[in-house]
């Protein structure tokens, strides 16, 4: 076991993609016709958006697909300049294949600012002869209307338990690991229909022990800092300062997560847990104040501790 499994077992043929039959059929017809419109792939993480885009490119362009396929991540290269310069430069040059166009795959396109999307729209139109776009996003509603109306939208569904289970068993067989039934169940509970998360958890669990059962899966699933942040938040809102701080220390010392990243994640997790909205706004006020203090203060750890102390107090009073 050497590679990252998500990559090792990423399907390369459209036929191997599971759980999205309707979409796969349509994409195959594009390959057959050697033509395609601009596409929007919308759906939750780990449902096959990137995989489908790559498999489509391989279908269209064959072995040298990489020369005609440019993958950009909108949340890494946000902003209007990226669209103006990088995308335009790529889009305007002639394709080096016999299909007649190339593909730009813009991942997390819903992270592009509306301005950048507007600029993108013009580029999509102007160079559509030589370049087709695939925009991937979690919610198509965050893509501006003019782009939506110029593209075919595909909605990816969360994968079923059967699909996930079959794939995990296949990987386990190839990697010669013992996967118990309750482990598959546990993976489905923590990862839902997210194939990427499922496989990542499986690989982490496989590196931790011989036999993989639900215990190991739960251990492995709590690794990602996003999950730890959620747990820390829950503890502090239960008034358990010391418990929350233990998790904080672990993240900082053992995993080297930066203070600003922890706050960033706390912010997004706050919207996901169920708390009254007036408490939410109070917590956000505290957070804003602390984050400001961290930028000015001497020691960021003190800021985070103060944040947890105040969360503990507010959470306790709410109960």
């Amino acid at each position: 076991m050497e590679d990252v499994w998500v990559e090792k077992y990423r399907p390369v043929k459209l036929d191997d993609i599971v759980g999205q039959d309707y979409i796969v059929e349509r994409l195959k017809s594009y390959v057959k016709e050697k033509n395609m419109p601009h596409l929007i792939f919308a759906g939750p993480p780990g449902t096959g958006k990137t995989t489908s885009a790559i498999a489509l490119a391989i279908g269209l362009f064959g072995e040298n697909w990489k020369a005609s396929f440019n993958e950009l991540n909108a949340s890494d290269e946000r902003g209007i300049d990226t669209v103006r310069v990088q995308i335009k430069d790529y889009a305007r040059t002639a394709p080096s294949n016999d299909v007649g166009f190339k593909i730009i795959f813009l991942d997390e396109a819903d992270h592009l600012t509306p301005d950048a999307q507007a600029a993108l729209r013009r580029t999509m139109e102007k160079f559509s002869k030589t370049c087709r776009f695939i925009l991937s996003c979690n919610y198509s509603s965050r893509i501006i209307d003019p782009i939506q109306s110029r593209a075919s939208i595909f909605r990816f569904k969360p994968l079923s338990k059967e699909d996930i289970s079959r794939r995990l068993k296949y990987i386990a067989e190839k990697e010669k690991i013992k996967l118990e039934d309750d482990a598959i169940e546990a993976i489905y509970i923590v990862a839902n229909g997210d194939m990427r998360k499922s496989i990542n958890i499986l690989q982490a669990a496989a590196s931790m022990g011989e036999k993989i059962n639900s215990d190991i899966i739960y251990k492995a699933s709590g690794l990602a800092s996003r999950d730890v942040v959620r747990k820390m938040l829950e503890k502090s809102l239960n008034g358990d300062f010391l418990g929350a701080r233990e998790l904080l220390d672990k993240m900082i010392v053992e995993y080297g997560v930066a203070a600003e990243d922890i706050i960033k994640q706390m912010h997004s997790e706050l919207y996901k847990i169920s708390i009254p909205e007036d408490l939410l706004v109070q917590l956000l006020e505290i957070m804003a104040d602390i984050e400001f203090r961290i930028t000015e203060g001497a020691n960021e750890k003190i800021g985070l501790d103060a944040l947890l102390a105040k969360f503990s107090n507010l959470g306790k009073n709410q109960k």
């Binding site: 997390e108 690794l223 220390d249 203090r293 203060g297």
Partner: protein, 445 residues
């Protein structure tokens, strides 16, 4: 009193303990200067933690080859002017050594220019800062006719940014690894005890060495402290190690603040201890929650701690020490943040955590760099990779050497990045395996 760490500094490369590969490379580099040819890389960068022998090696090299020395370290002001004046001039002319001996390069005589703590150059900060110091180092390395050695703890600082990359291409990096405690104990401490006629059990030397965490200088200093005015060291002496006065002061100040119900009393105690306020703040931060059980009190206490922290930050940034008394005020105010009198306190914990954190201050940089590399193979954004995949990757990397070696190759991980991922374990094994993989790939290609 002579410090033993100085007294027993190795005089020759052959006396250096550990890091033999590195020493061999350095010796060869020295030979090529001696032969009259200027080697391709005119500068070496010695990289490694404190007390692993970087400076000693540089000095021993000069001694073995009979070279003069020009040394610059952090205590000198090292702005562009200063480096140019001393290092550049020294590097261009073959003249006299610091002692006035004539050095002819025809006879293989050289002047070794040592720039110590080269990762502590402050670029463009204030008038007394090391403004443009790195630029001057690059210039020096480019034009030098003399051997140059740069010494750093953290190569990342030296090589970051565009200028850093330019510098990296001009030099050869030599990594110094920490010695293990056996090496320190049996090769160094034992020798010193023999020469100083001190009777001591091997087991005790082992413990001193273990405590040093690979820092030879620290181990020798501890040994010297324990041996002060004695001819034997016993188990009992060992207990004194590490609990120096400073800790006692801070300990009692912290305890006072946590227990007292009066701000004025606490303020007086703070006045009298005269210790680093940021250290006291860290002690309070570490221990307060074990005493202030009511979250109401705890939350108020952290308001004040956070105020103190804020003003400490402002002092640092503005270099305005007038704020210091407010820092003490806010720390003292922690006493009156509580509405209950608890009196529970057990033994206070030392905020070792913060020390550990300080050592990992670069962790964000490493995480970001590795996440960026990873995101290329996971087809995810850097943020998603960082928040959803990083720990999983890190865990597999630690658990599985084959995985680690293979990903070292595909992600082109540096030694520091591997150290960060594994927490410093198995680094050499991973590097070795990854070299094997590269060889195989080369053969197949």
């Amino acid at each position: 009193m002579i410090e033993w760490a100085e007294k027993y500094r190795p005089k020759s490369l052959k006396d250096i303990v550990g890091n033999q590969d590195a020493i061999q490379k350095i010796r060869e580099w020295g030979e090529s200067w001696k032969s009259g040819n200027i080697p391709k890389k005119k500068a070496l960068v010695f990289e490694g933690k404190p007390g692993v022998g970087k400076t000693s090696t540089a000095l021993a090299l000069a001694n073995d080859f009979g070279w003069g020395i020009i040394e610059l370290n952090a205590s000198d002001i090292r702005n562009e002017e200063h480096i140019k004046e001393i290092a550049m001039r020294g590097s261009l002319y073959e003249t006299f050594s610091d002692n006035g001996d004539f050095l002819s390069s025809k006879e293989g005589k050289r002047k070794l220019i040592i720039i110590d703590e080269a990762d502590n150059l402050y670029e463009g900060k204030g008038d007394s800062g090391d403004r443009g110091g790195r630029k001057a180092i690059i210039e020096t390395v480019k034009v030098t006719m003399q051997p140059v050695i740069l010494i750093v703890n953290d190569p990342y600082e030296l090589f970051k940014g565009e200028q850093g990359q330019v510098l990296r291409n001009l030099v050869e990096e030599i990594k110094f690894r920490s010695l293990n405690y056996k090496q320190i104990s049996s090769s160094i401490l034992k020798m010193i005890c023999a020469r100083e006629n001190i009777i001591v059990d091997r087991n005790i030397l082992d413990r001193i060495a273990q405590k040093s965490g690979g820092d030879v200088r620290a181990a020798i200093n501890d040994l010297q402290m324990l041996a002060q005015g004695k001819k034997t060291i016993t188990e009992k002496d060992l207990e004194n190690l590490g609990s120096r006065d400073i800790v006692e002061n801070i300990y009692s100040a912290t305890l006072n603040i946590i227990l007292s119900m009066s701000m004025k009393t606490s303020r007086e105690v703070l006045n009298s201890v005269d210790e680093d306020p940021s250290l006291i703040m860290q002690w309070i931060d570490e221990n307060i929650a074990h005493e202030y059980l009511d979250t109401e009190d705890l939350s108020r206490a952290f308001d004040y701690i956070s105020d103190a922290n804020l003003y400490l930050g402002r002092i640092r940034r503005l270099q305005y020490y007038g704020f210091l008394s407010y820092v003490y005020d806010f720390l003292a105010a922690v006493s009156i943040a509580k509405k209950h009198k608890y009196g529970i306190h057990g033994k206070l914990n030392s905020p070792d955590f913060l020390k550990a954190m300080a050592q990992r201050k670069r962790s964000k940089d490493y995480r970001d760099i590795i996440s960026q590399k990873l995101s290329k193979i996971t087809h995810q954004s850097q943020d998603s990779t960082n928040f959803e995949f990083f720990e999983i990757f890190m865990r597999i990397f630690r658990n599985d050497i084959n995985f680690a070696a293979w990903n070292t190759v595909i992600l082109n991980l540096s030694e520091e990045e591997i150290e960060f991922l594994t927490g410093n374990e198995n680094v050499e094994k991973i590097l070795e395996k990854s070299k094997d993989i590269m060889k195989k790939m080369g053969n197949n290609a």
